[in-house]
Amino acid sequence: MSACSDFERLLLERASDTLTPEQSARLEKHLAICAGCAAEARALVETVALAKLPPLTPKERISLQGMPLSALAAWHRAERRNRLFRRAGLGIAAAAAVALVSVLPTLKRNVPTKNSAVQVEDPTLAALESWGAEDPIADSLADSILGGDVLDE
């Protein structure tokens, strides 16, 4: 025998102990005459009861009594650790800043500027241009003519 669908929600609310007095009175009246709903109501309440954990043992209760003090001690330990980390972080940041300041002028000197790049590149470009303009055959001919030791026409 199954529960009436109209009362399904109320049965669940009864199991979760959230019925208003009016709802409870209405449901109990129904449960008195409906065996299906009564069985379902019992089963739902039993399901929640079965899922419950046992009450705390005396040992657990005693162990919890010291919780405020031990938690406070743990809080202070964590605070000290955080302060230490913050100081260490600040120290590392300061050291990094000092190192950067000392290295920066050297770096600045070595970093090629836009003008110096042109200066470096200029001779190279000029050399390339002059190489491109060279005529090796004409040159060798001129050498031979001027030297007069190879071609003897």
């Binding site: 929600r9 669940l12 979760s16 399901t47 899922a51 954990l53 162990s63 405020p68 964590a78």
Partner: protein, 219 residues
Amino acid sequence: MPFDAKAEQSVDSRLRRALRLVEMVAEPELDDDELCRAFLAGDESAFGDLVRRHQVRVYSVVRRYAPDSEDARDLTQRSFLRAFQAARRALSRFGPTHSIPFQAWLFRIAVNLGKNHARQERRWKRAPIVDVELSGPPQTSALDALVWAEASKLVRKAVLKLPRRQREVFTLRVDAELSFGEVGSALGMSENSAKVHFHYAVKRLRLVLAERGDKEEES
């Protein structure tokens, strides 16, 4: 003059009530928000008051996930520390007038820590609590007690296998005995949603029990 015990009792109870009233007026109980602010402002006794107020319920929630009582205690303590840290961060980020829903944060943190603990330790398959025989109502016989213990073990395992939201709502309602409004605010959902999740959870657990009954009948 004859001794009138009833009148004496009445005077005694009136006196006790008056004393309670005086105590209440003298030291009005601070709420969580006020206690948390007091602690962060340097009042260490407020820390103890707040921990004492919630420790049993937080412990009750996390011990479902942590089979070992020492682990459960550790998780409870960590929940408090994280909740205080969260409150301090909130106050420093949003200003001192920002509200601190300490209880909601505390239980949300406790559920998350418990769940992570269970996942990390892969202890889902272990029965979380050993004293199974203590959990049920008084049994009429040893056989009844055994049947109850078996069923209880099955249902508790099933609780840990519930979908996340249903499990969270169920444990906060049953273990911490929070109202559905409090459950909703801890998990960031409406009171009605919390009720719906709870109902689905109970239905699912009921199904597990019914299936077990069917199997037993078959065998």
